[in-house]
Amino acid sequence: MSEPRRVVRGLTLPLAIALASVMAAPRVSTAQSTAQYRARLIAALRDRHALRDSLDALHAHRIAEVPPDSMSSGRLHVRYSKATLGPSLDATLRGAVRQAAGDVDAEFGDAQIGDSGAVLVVSRVNWGMFTALGFDAVLVELSGGRGRMSPVRSPITERKLADALVDMIGTLATDGVPANVSRWAGYHTPARPLTHDDWEAAALDLATSNSSVARTCYSGSVAGCESALGLTTVRDSLSEWYTPEGWRALVASWNVQPGDPALAAAHAECVDKKVMATCERLARSRPVPVPLDMATRSTLFNLAIARGGRSAYAKLRSAHGTPLEVLSAVAGIAPDALVDDWRTHTLASVPHGVRPGAAEATVLLAWTALFGFAATRRRS
């Protein structure tokens, strides 16, 4: 083979991978000043409201056209088109509805999900990043024009469909969350039990927070945990949640755009030259973040629901007071006990994965032995 052809062949794969990476990469936004950014944001919000109204109308119109084939199980009612889904998907949907009905009962108990239960619409769509390369998917939507939908991509299994159905039911179950609790949780109130990965992320958030109250929480203070979770009333969040070194860490985490030289200079003065007065001024110029993020706070929410049993969601609708008081009422235990329980659960989820455990080591040695055995079997 000639040298140029060899070079071209050798470069084909790396170029293909690079091209694919570029096509999949997110777009980088252009630099702009803070004022310009604010104006664009407000305009976009206005457009969004108008768009949302149009989408809701379109959605309601589309759902009204779905043929009235239906099936029910427990408090779950599903509308779909048998002709569009086909016999194979029809059978899969039936199995999924049966599974989902059981999951709904187990996870949401007596939660209010509609006067006669939840109504969901299942339809078959073409889905994909590029229409020409699209493929079959199943869309699960709430009826009533709420705009909530969940696509299920191939391979479409009973488990995946059931999960999508239960996810939609979950959004109904959490419809009655008090507004202050929803605000505290950052509008992130999960309807399904969280996984170990979610708890692990919460544990990492607690262990790596640059807030002083998060560190006292980590060390054992329930009051520190309540403060770090944003459950207490604070007069001066910056001083109560962070030490001066923490202000510097906060400012250092900002992504300062080159289009604002004054901000860039102040940022450098705080981070590089350690001028604490500048750090404090900058930190106060923006909302002070709650030490533990939304995902972490949602684990407390989820723990309260889990402790509250079948009537947890019902109690959530009727509870009053501060977010901690509401969650305590849902869980049926005192606020300090709930937070302490959360702390124990979180710290137990701290990943200790650097050193392989006995199971991991055994599995790795077994694979090693298997490969070694394969090598001795054949003389090539």
């Binding site: 694919a20 790596t208 510097r248 860490a249 994965g353 650097v354 790795l364």
Partner: protein
């Protein structure tokens, strides 16, 4: 017998081993010390970021050590059509086992360097509260990861013989295409599924996706 097989393989690989040992020692030392000098107190995310960088480099080094020690014994014997091993009064299986175990033993050397470098690196920086150093755990992970990668490369060599490189390239290309298809257009294939099984617990290469952190929570 094993001692002599080990000695010959060590003699072949000693120059490479010196480089691996240097890299295994210097990666944590340089990255952690240099990185932590830029880390602000209580900016624990940045500290973990530095530790992650060192971990990624060590994971890559583990793979390099594994392939480096796996290919040489086979190539040297295959060049002479394995006449040497086949003329010895041991069965082929017994000889290959000795070769395999010799390479697995040599992998302990760079793993020990990881431990030593980790201890030195951790002692030379101020570790933020709530974080801890795990030089021993990291060295064990390094050894087990390099061992399983070595075993896979060793088996590929001895099973596929002179076609090993070709087989490996074809497999990698097919997997890359399947993964790109899965990520970009959601196209599930048996290849992508098999790759997921190998790289997720309890697959053999899941160890490379785990926490390779000298300094961690």
């Amino acid at each position: 017998m094993f001692a002599q097989v080990l000695y010959t393989q060590w003699k072949w690989a000693r120059t490479e081993l010196v480089l691996y040992v240097l890299a295994a020692f210097l990666i944590p030392t340089i990255i952690i010390r240099t990185g932590f000098s830029y880390v602000i107190t209580y900016d624990i995310h940045s500290a973990l970021g530095v530790s992650t960088l060192a971990g990624v480099c060590l994971a890559a080094l583990a793979m390099l050590c594994a392939f480096g020690l796996a290919w040489r014994p086979y190539i040297l014997d295959a060049g002479l059509k394995h006449v040497g091993p086949l003329s010895l009064p041991v069965s082929w299986g017994a000889f290959v086992r000795m070769r395999f175990l010799a390479g697995a033993t040599l992998l302990l050397i760079p793993a020990a360097a990881v431990w030593f470098g980790g201890v030195l690196a951790a002692a030379s920086v101020t570790i933020p509260p709530t974080l801890h150093a795990y030089p021993g755990g990291l060295a064990i992970r390094f050894y087990l990861a390099s061992l399983v990668a070595y075993a896979a490369a060793f088996a590929l060599q001895y099973v596929a013989g002179k076609h090993a490189v070709r087989v490996a390239v074809i497999v990698l290309v097919v997997v890359a295409v399947a993964e790109i298809a899965a990520q970009m257009i959601g196209f599930s294939s048996i290849v992508a599924g098999a790759w997921n099984m190998l790289t997720n617990w309890p697959g053999p290469f899941a160890v490379f996706a785990a926490r390779w952190m000298l300094i961690d929570v």
